[in-house]
């Protein structure tokens, strides 16, 4: 690598929390490394040391329980999530969206929690998780707190996570197991590219819920709609809520246009 750093692999959670609370040197925690090592190589971050979380058994935990819901530990990879039977059965929107994240090789390493914590506006996991009312469980030496993901992500690559804190897991409530849904993503090249814009739809008996990524600094969750809502109604609300930009990947107008296209395709069940 262009920048040199030390590597530590603790085996206990309290060791990680101790490292994080010591502000002497700059440390970065990671599991998959698919965002961190790209940033280090590009000179965008220069840690003194990196902390590999994979040595901590409990963070690999992925489980489903009819009462507690789905629990996704910090080291659970995207492929582990989308191949999990309970996810395919009860939270299909996560399996559909996860399948769109980068390539098989990346999904073997990249974690669900990492994708949310990186808080890139074009991450694939945040919008379906927002629709599902998912919460992050955050630990530090001072205790733990739970926060709804819709309150957790505050801007482009920014969250309410303090430097001494670690996201231990994400919990998806069990009341969402009846939901179905879809996810549409525009990208320039299959498997290689970041999302240009994407829309997630979660359908429940009494509500339709949409979340949009890459069209504002954070993923945008629209207010709930009744199942009888018209395509135009949802499109109008979406255009109000987003604030897309022009960038190297596409223009503002094209992003706004594709949001409407995806809303229509999702509502009509089209490919």
């Amino acid at each position: 690598m262009i920048h040199d750093f030390r590597y530590v692999r603790p085996e206990r959670l309290d060791e990680v929390l101790d490292l994080l609370s010591d502000r002497g040197e700059k440390g970065c925690v990671f599991s998959g490394g698919t965002d961190l090592f790209v940033d280090i190589r590009a000179g965008m971050t220069t840690p003194d040391y990196v902390v590999d979380l994979k040595g901590i058994e409990s963070l690999h935990h992925l489980s489903f329980d009819k009462k507690e819901g789905l629990s996704i530990g910090a080291c659970v990879t995207v492929n582990e999530l989308i191949q999990h039977e309970a996810v395919k059965k009860h939270y299909s929107i996560l399996a559909i969206a996860g399948r769109e994240l980068a390539s098989h090789q990346i999904r073997n390493r990249a974690t669900v929690v990492g994708n949310v914590v990186t808080a890139s506006p074009c991450g694939d996991m945040a919008s379906p998780l927002l629709c599902l009312d998912a919460e992050a469980v955050i630990l530090s030496n001072k205790g733990s707190r739970n926060i709804l993901l819709s309150d957790f992500v505050t801007g482009v690559k920014s969250t309410t996570l303090r430097p001494d804190e670690l996201v231990e897991k994400i919990i998806v409530p069990s009341r969402m197991i009846d939901a179905t849904g879809g996810y549409k993503k525009l990208k320039r090249i299959r498997g290689h590219d970041l999302g240009v814009v994407s829309v997630a739809l979660l359908k429940r008996k009494d509500t339709l819920r949409f979340a949009i990524s890459s069209a504002a600094p954070t993923p945008v969750l629209l207010p709930d709609f009744p199942p009888s809502a018209s395509v135009e109604e949802v499109q109008a609300a979406a255009q109000q809520a987003i604030s897309p930009i022009d960038d190297v990947r596409c223009s503002r107008e094209y992003r706004a246009f594709m949001v409407n296209v995806f809303i229509e395709r999702l509502m009509k069940g089209a490919e």
Binding site: M1, H3, D4, F5, R6, Y7, R9, G32, G33, T34, F37, V38, I40, R41, A42, V50, D52, K54, A102, S103, H104, Q105, I106, N108, R109, R190, G191, H192
Partner: protein, 163 residues
């Protein structure tokens, strides 16, 4: 520096390695296994794909230090005693190699795909290699090579018959 022991293509290596060194650079520079290529160095092109503990991964985004105790398969493990593996043979027969830069990563990705899905459909092959760029072949020859090696190519299909 950290001391790591890895098993690469069945052979065990113990080395002192710089902590910030990627698995890709460790293989190429410390072990002189230069079959694995570096394209982008950023997880986009798949040229650096190796199989790490049974999973296809981009070795440019993994630290060598993370792989202590692991089993790694690379392109150097394919040919045995000067004889190409079946997949290499199929790539050769179907002109699936032009400049060859993507080939080592492509073959490792397909090897992993066939372990999970021994008879992938054309669409499953296309999905399976979505993380591997090829700037030469247009992918068609690669897809035909995989269809052939899995016994799914008709007699007159692909390039086998012109040889």
């Amino acid at each position: 520096m950290v001391r790591i022991t890895v098993r690469v293509n069945g052979k065990e290596y113990t080395r002192e390695v710089v902590e910030s060194r990627t698995l890709l650079h460790f293989l190429r520079e410390d072990l002189s296994l230069t079959g694995t290529k570096e394209g982008c160095g950023a997880g986009e092109c798949g040229a650096c794909t190796v199989i790490l503990d049974g999973q296809a991964v981009n070795s440019c985004l993994i630290l060598a230090a993370e792989t202590d105790g692991s089993t790694i398969e690379t392109i150097e493990g394919e040919a045995k005693n000067g004889k190409l593996s079946r997949m290499q043979e199929a790539f050769h027969n179907h002109h699936a190699v032009q400049c060859g830069f993507c080939t080592p990563g492509m073959i490792m990705t397909i090897k992993d795909l066939l372990r999970r899905k021994p008879k992938p459909s054309r669409d499953e092959i296309i999905d399976g290699i979505e993380g591997n760029f090829c700037r030469c072949t247009g992918y068609e020859q690669i897809i035909e090579a995989v269809l052939d090696v899995t016994g799914q190519l008709g007699k007159k299909e692909g390039l086998r018959h012109v040889r």
